[in-house]
Amino acid sequence: AQSVTQLDSQVPVFEEAPVELRCNYSSSVSVYLFWYVQYPNQGLQLLLKYLSGSTLVESINGFEAEFNKSQTSFHLRKPSVHISDTAEYFCAVINPFPSGGSNYKLTFGKGTLLTVNP
């Protein structure tokens, strides 16, 4: 079984400031990791993912996340945020090779609400 902890439920920042949203996970098997973003009154959109290879992954809108196996973390960062980045961000993990009666089930953290103020 897996679990995900997002350490901050809310993160307020000013526009153009850097931000880090923290995510730690627990799993007895190797996992794939994801960040999803949810803009107000919308569904979840995949922001970026770590499957294997380079531990630093980037999104098209300037976010990046670094997989740290020793610390079981997958923190999300952006060097300079915009008002339009205001949204809720969810970290999630999945066992990519489920066995027996298991299936491809995402386990989500509780979310971090990023609010960017002018």
Binding site: S9, L44, Q45, L46, G101, K105
Partner: protein, 113 residues
């Protein structure tokens, strides 16, 4: 339209009523999922399906029923709605080639009075 759609987008119902939330995807994805989103809990899996006629329970299945007679549809039924089922419900799907990458619908906001 291509993608994954949910209907209705908003629903108000009374305690004890049966209500069905619809989910439709046009990608022919094998895997489909129902989640509920509640403040302080994030997203929790209700039911999932690996293919037509194959469904299984997730983390919080009590009070819900699903069916999947066709690959593209995955309705979620609340047989006798309770106030604790007031929530936002999201449907998601993923394909065989990339089963770990799920795509989400826009959600249904359900209020049980």
């Amino acid at each position: 339209d291509a993608g994954i759609t949910q209907s209705p987008r908003y629903k108000i119902t009374e305690t004890g009523r049966q209500v069905t939330l619809m989910c439709h995807q046009t990608w022919s994805h094998s895997y489909m999922f129902w989640y509920r989103q509640d403040l302080g809990h994030g997203l929790r899996l209700i039911y999932y399906s690996a293919a037509a006629d194959i469904t299984d329970k997730g983390e919080v299945p009590d009070g819900y029923v699903v069916s999947r007679s066709k690959t593209e549809n995955f309705p979620l039924t609340l047989e006798s709605a309770t106030r604790s089922q007031t929530s936002v419900y999201f449907c998601a799907s993923s394909g065989d080639r990339v089963p770990y990458e799920q795509y989400f619908g826009p959600g249904t906001r359900l209020t049980v009075t």
